[in-house]
Amino acid sequence: MTSLLEVKNLKVSFETEQGRVTAVDDVSFSLEKGKTLGIVGESGCGKSVTAMSILRLLPKPAGNIDNGEILFNGKNIRDLSIHDMFQIRGRKISMIFQEPMTALNPVKSVGKQIMEVYELHFPEMSKEDRKRSAIETFEMVGIPAPDRRLREYPHQLSGGLRQRVMIAIALACKPDILIADEPTTALDVTIQAQILDLIKDLQKEIGMGVIFITHDLGVVAQVCDEIVVMYAGRIAERANVFDLFKSPQHPYTHGLLGSIPRLELAPKTKLQTIEGMVPSLFDMPQGCRFQNRCEFVQEVCKSKIPPLEAFQGSHLVSCLRSKEIEWSDR
């Protein structure tokens, strides 16, 4: 059986004034129908670039997919013509962006912005049909008084409502895949929870696969089935959500989980951090990219690139020493 989406050995680089840099290197994962894949990592680790590559929305001409396959229902998206791509965007694969404040056009009513999707993908629909569908979609994502909201402009809506509008636009055509790029980062916690529940509910309803990009491990634990942890453009660890949270194998994942503040700790306890900085994309070390921050680093880490290997079943880790380190005694 072919997966809904399969990304194989994706490599993306950007042309900059200081030369060519590789933002995503050898990233592979797959997404099944109705499942949620989380991509986690800190800013600049390549998670958004990965998402943009799937829709071929990398900034042109700077960004380029150098290598790899992106198979959507078994067909490589990279081979499609740009016109086929227009058919996929918004119809088969949709995307929600991080900033609901700026991701909507300020001078168009939100109704026009959602109806535009129907206009593009179902040109045979009449104006009334489009309006009816827009109202239905608004209702589906829980926007109160949808017929009135259609006429409103983004600045008249709250942040949570705007993100709901964004979700409505993304789900307007009931896509097969929804890519949510930090959809809740700009929202406050209560709205965040609502939006997460909403995405989960709609996923059940429509049966779509969701790629959830975030740096918030709490969010990941809540919504994801499988998780890809990225570090400096590479996959550090890939596992289902239970394995990852129960027995993280990569020192980076460990550090991430360790840095989450815990309720049971005494107030004012110093938060755990991962020492050091992410190496610059221009100055990537040989070997393992986490070497300068890893407490288990050895000579071999500095010369050999750790392959992404199975630790147990589908639990993959790219650490040369993962089998030697005893996490339990820590």
Binding site: R91, N105, P106, V107, V117, L120
Partner: protein
């Protein structure tokens, strides 16, 4: 919206009073004036006729009479309000140079400046908006760089230098265009097409001069705002919906990019209708700019004030017009 506009119109009143009062006071304070001018002329005539008589050419009584005639005998504030009262009755006074009503003098010249102003406005918008769009989309291309050089040169060289150069090259050197004036001497005798051709010939160089400086601001305003909008998140949203890039530009970025253009449009309208005294001077076009300039040199204060009244009104109305245009393109601006 109506209420807001009403408030804006009310605000025009103090602005207008401020502008006119300041200039009125300046005309009173600076040395020289119609009386001094007449005195100097009388003195010249006296010297020519009989030398050695010396003394004042006019008696004290005559001078006072002249001052009363020009309204210079009263204190500044009082004189201002007398002038203002007349303006409110649409009486701009009488030119001290021509002895004609000021309004008649202005009425003859306003259409000439307005003609150039509207032409400039039309052409700049018709050229700069598309050029700016192309430059934004093809940023850093050969076309972008070459047009940038042209536009910057036009901007860097002052209008009067451009005017003189054009006149020297195309007027005097190549003799393609007439040296100046708004129409030829035989204009009245020509048929319709002849008149059009004559007018176009006379228009070409001054218009080019007007355009040279204005191109840069408008083109780059368009280019830069469009480039800002192209990198905006909502363009990415539009692309993710399945729009092609040209459609995303046209349907989403354009309207946002026209907002600053709309602001500019209203403001430049008032400025353009008044003409530039430098350009009109160079090409000897008898428009508002030249009139204003000459009346200042000649100390023809009623005309100076008259030109000021018209230009400040146009400017203030232009500003409001700009606001209305912005409100039309930007739904975030809704006047309460």
């Amino acid at each position: 919206m109506g209420k807001y506009l009403f408030r804006r119109f009310l605000l025009m009143i103090p602005t207008f009073l401020g502008i006119t009062f300041m200039v009125f006071c300046i005309t009173r304070i600076v040395p020289g004036g119609p009386v001094e001018k007449i005195l100097a002329e009388a003195q010249m005539m006296n010297q020519g006729r009989a030398s050695g008589s010396g003394g004042a050419p006019l008696s004290e009584d005559q001078i006072n009479e002249l001052k009363a005639y020009y309204g210079l005998d009263k204190p500044m504030i009082e004189a201002y309000f007398i002038w203002l009262g007349k303006v409110l009755k649409l009486d701009l006074g009488v030119s001290s140079r021509y002895s004609d009503p000021v309004w008649d003098t202005i009425k003859d010249r306003l259409p000439i400046s307005a003609y150039f102003g509207i032409m400039t406005l039309l052409i700049t918008h018709l050229v700069c908006i598309p050029l700016g769009i192309v430059k934004a989309i093809k940023h850093n291309s050969t076309l972008d760089n070459i047009t940038s050089i042209g536009v910057f040169v036009g901007y860097a060289v002052p209008a009067y230098v451009v005017g003189i150069l054009l006149l020297v090259w195309f007027g005097s050197g190549l003799e393609w265009f007439p040296m100046g004036g708004f129409t030829g001497d035989d204009f009245e005798d020509l048929d319709f097409w002849g008149k059009t051709k004559d007018l176009m010939n006379h228009t070409a160089l001054p218009l080019a001069t007007y355009l040279a400086g204005d191109f840069a601001v408008k083109t780059f305003l368009m280019k830069n705002t469009l480039m800002d909008n192209l990198s905006a998140d909502y363009i990415r949203t539009a692309l993710a919906k399945g729009l092609s890039f040209p459609k995303a530009v046209w349907k989403h970025a354009m309207r946002n990019s026209l907002i600053p253009m709309a602001t500019h449009f209203g403001q430049s309208l008032g400025l353009f209708l008044m003409g530039s005294f430098l350009v009109e001077q160079i090409y000897n076009i008898d428009g508002m700019g030249l009139l204003g300039y000459e009346s200042i040199v000649e100390r023809d204060y009623p005309v100076v004030m008259g030109v000021l009244v018209i230009s400040s009104l146009l400017f203030l109305v232009g500003n409001i017009l700009g606001d209305i245009l912005v409100a039309l393109v930007d739904p975030r601006v809704r006047f309460q």
